[in-house]
Structures are given as C-alpha cells and as structure tokens.
Amino acid sequence: MIDVREAITRAHHEEWARVVAALTRRCGDLDIAEEAAAEAFATAVERWPADGVPPNPGGWLTITANRKAIDRIRRENKRDDRHREAQMVYADDPPEPLGAVDDDRLRLIFTCCHPALAMQARVALTLRMVGGLTVPEIARAFLVRETALEQRITRAKAKIKAARIPYRMPAAEDLPARVTGVLAVLYLVFNEGYLATGPDTDPARHDLTAEAIRLTRLIRALLPDDGEVAGLLALMLLTEARRTARVSASGELVTLDEQDRGAWDTALIAEGHRLVRERLAAAAAGVTPGRYQILAAVNAVHTSARDIRDTDWSQVLALYDQLVRLDPSPIIALNRAIAVAELDGPEVALAAVDRLEDNLAGYHAYHATRAELLRRLGRSQKSRGAYEKAIELAGNTAETACLTRRRDQLG
C-alpha cells in the first residue's frame, strides 16, 4: 500500500507537467488539460492500489488524461470542438525526439508566464500547471485565500483562451523580456521545494528544487549571456548544495550555523561559484547585477566559509546593502539584519528587525529571527513568546521541529 502511494506521489511529481503540457499541445486548451490531468491522477489513486502500479506510469497517466479530455469535449458537445475531438482521437502523435518533452514544458511555462497576465496570475498558473501544486499549497505559498487563488487561476486560463495567448516559445527578440517573468516564477517554485509547506508534505521537496534547477539550466542554455539567469541558477545550486545538511535524520531543520559543512555538495558549490565568478567579472566590466546575482553572491560567501566563524559577514552585509537599494522589501531588510547581528551585535539587529513589525507580523521568519536575537540577548521570556508565534505561523515541519527544540532549550 505504501509503495503504491509512493508511486502515485512520484508519478505526480515527475509526470504532472508532462501530462498537462502534452495535452495542452494536443487539445489547445489549458483548462481541459488541467482538469483531465487531475482526473487521471484521481483515477490512479482509485485504481492503482487494486490493479497495481502500471509498468509505465507516465504513459498510463497520459493515455488516461487523454481519454478524460475527450470525454469532457464530448460532454460539452460543441460544434467547433468536433474537429478537436477528431484530432485527439485519431491523430497519432509522432514519437517525441529526445528532449522535445522539455520544450513542451518550456512552451507551457512561457504561456503561463505571458506578460499579458498579471504577475500573481503567472506565478499561480505556473505552479498549478507546471509545478502540479494544489490550490491550497499555492494559496499557502502566497499567503492568500484559496478561493481568491482559484479565481486568479480561472481568470488567467479564461484570458489565455479568449485573447488567444499562443502556446509556443517566444520569438528570439522577445525572449529576454519574457525570461524575467519566468525566472521569478522558477524561483518561487524552487522556494516551495526548498521550504515545503503543509503538514503532510516532506519538509524539503527535492523534486521541486530539482525541477526548478532543471528548467533554469534549460533557460541558461537558451540565454547564456543573461546575467540574471546565471545568477538564479547559481543561487539555486548553492542553496541546493546544502540540502542534505539542512534537515537532520530526525527531520529537524538545521540552521546554517549548525550544519555539517562536510555534507555540502562540493560539485554543486563549484558550479555555483563558477557562475558567480562569471557574473563578478561582468560586474567589474560595468554590468549592474540584478537581485539573483547579488543573492547568489551572498550564498557564495557562505559556501566559501569552511566554518561559520570564517564567514565574511562584512561582505554579506555589503551585498545586502546593494540589494536593499535594488529591492527595498521588508524581507530583504530582515535578512540584512541577520548579517548586522553578526557584525554589530544582536541589540542593533533587534532594533532593525522590530521596525519591520508592521509589514512582517504574519511572517514566521520575522518571529523566528526575533526569537533568536532575544535568546542571544538573554531575554528568555520574550524569546519564548517569539518562538511560539513563529511555531504557530511556520508551515514547514522541519522548521517547526527546530523552533520547538530551541524554545524548549530556553532557560
């Protein structure tokens, strides 16, 4: 039973985007593709425990989803859909050359990230259609109500259909502009994998981080000169390199200062550092780095230190200062404060963090950072309160475990 459930989960992670992308290409309708894919997975949940896992789960899901799509088109029974139905029933898809599947998913991504859609809609749509996340998962990632998110996705799909947003790769001259929106979406997908939310999900979803990295690599291959693509890829690699050290055997989050740095993936770090060096050379030549490049550089500083005590915090702070000028968001300011704590002490950092309360009172990391600073200042009572608030708001099981232990260790 557990094996079947695992097989379904794995199939969902591995096949969802492929099924949706292939169906969208065949029937030209995201809505039908999404619904049919969801029904196919629901059918798998129903059948596989009794019938066993099919030898080729992806193929089974694609065929089942295809049938579901034809069923729906028949149900709607629109005259203009007859042709489409005939196409789906009779058209033999030529066998995909190796790698064409990736292009199909990229096509899906560029459609979902189309500039005629609001940014929030692009992100929501991509996570749903490409990432295969459920509406509750996405709603949680964005801190919005499920109904609002559902509406956002429905509206976006309706616009794609009514305005005929094409299902294809953008023209070469449009590519750079189109990529910016895609990168924002991929970074969000990566973050959902890096710090997965929900009580029933693994604390870190390697499939999502791996997927985000894979797609970012593809875009990097297409746009080798785009600094932000390189920056985002480096940022992801340097974060992913610490993956195994980030969660303990007992499923608890291990913070940067307590990680076993010997467990970091040196190959990923080397690749990430190469990319950062490439961007540093470009910056030295006068190219202004964007936010991903700066964040990658921060991570390069961390991954260059063999021990937390060797961390070049003044370099980290200088990079955050650069980032604040580019993006004056409270979350950047919060992360900057962590570097401030190392250089100027927890008292100064706490004052900076407290100024962010209006914007970040609903954000668990704000309370976790406060709790940590208060603990270092010996204010146990206040620290405990902040830990409890952070535990209440944290959606990640490993993070909750870490916060709980630290709270319980307070004197």
Binding site: D80, H114, P115, A116, A162, A163, R164, I165, P166, P170, A171, D174
Partner: protein, 109 residues
C-alpha cells in the same frame, strides 16, 4: 482572430499633425501586412448621444454614457493570428498615435 485596439485619451486632446502622419504610416503597414480590418478616430465624447429604448418610451440623453477623464478617442480593428502578434502591433500603434491603448479580443465564433 480579431482584436479591438482602443485608443484612450487621458487628457491629451485631439491628435497633432505629427501624430496623424505617424498614424497614417502605421495604417499603411497594417494594410500592407494584412492586419487591417477597420479603424477610425472619434469626435469628442461631448458630441455623443445616448439612446435607451428598453422601456416603453425612447430615452434620448445628451452626452456620453459614462463621464470619465479617460475616454475612447479612436480604435483599430485588426486581424492577428494570436495575442503576441496583436500586442506587437499595439505597441507600435501606441507609439504612432502617442496614446495609451487597450487590446481586447473579439469573442471568437
């Protein structure tokens, strides 16, 4: 697929001769490339008359149906295979007429 490109006047007033010339060039291009369906400039909203014949009596009202600082100053109807093509044309249209424009698809049959 047809799209309505609405030209929005947000206080800019009537087109200048230079803008008119740029619009002519853009129109020629639309026709040459087969995107042209129809286009026209509209007189000021003050010249509008609103008719409502849904009830027993015809109601005739002087002035536009919506008083607004932004109003429709003109439009193009273009033929384009998809939104990407329509948006590209709209980007040039906006430059030509020197105004904000809105692209909206017609309901497809």
């Amino acid at each position: 697929m047809q799209y309505l490109i609405s030209v929005i006047d947000d206080g800019t007033g009537p087109a200048t001769p230079k803008e008119d010339a740029a619009i002519d060039v853009f129109n020629d291009r639309l026709q040459a490339e087969g995107h042209w369906v129809f286009a026209g400039g509209l007189a000021s909203p003050n010249s509008a008359t609103v008719i409502d014949n849904r009830g027993e009596e015809v109601l005739v009202t002087d002035g536009p149906f919506l008083e607004s600082k932004e109003y429709l100053a003109g439009f193009w109807i273009i033929e384009a295979p998809d939104l990407d093509v329509a948006l590209k044309l709209a980007v040039e249209g906006s430059k030509a007429c020197n105004r904000k424009i809105e692209v909206r698809p017609f309901l497809s049959a």
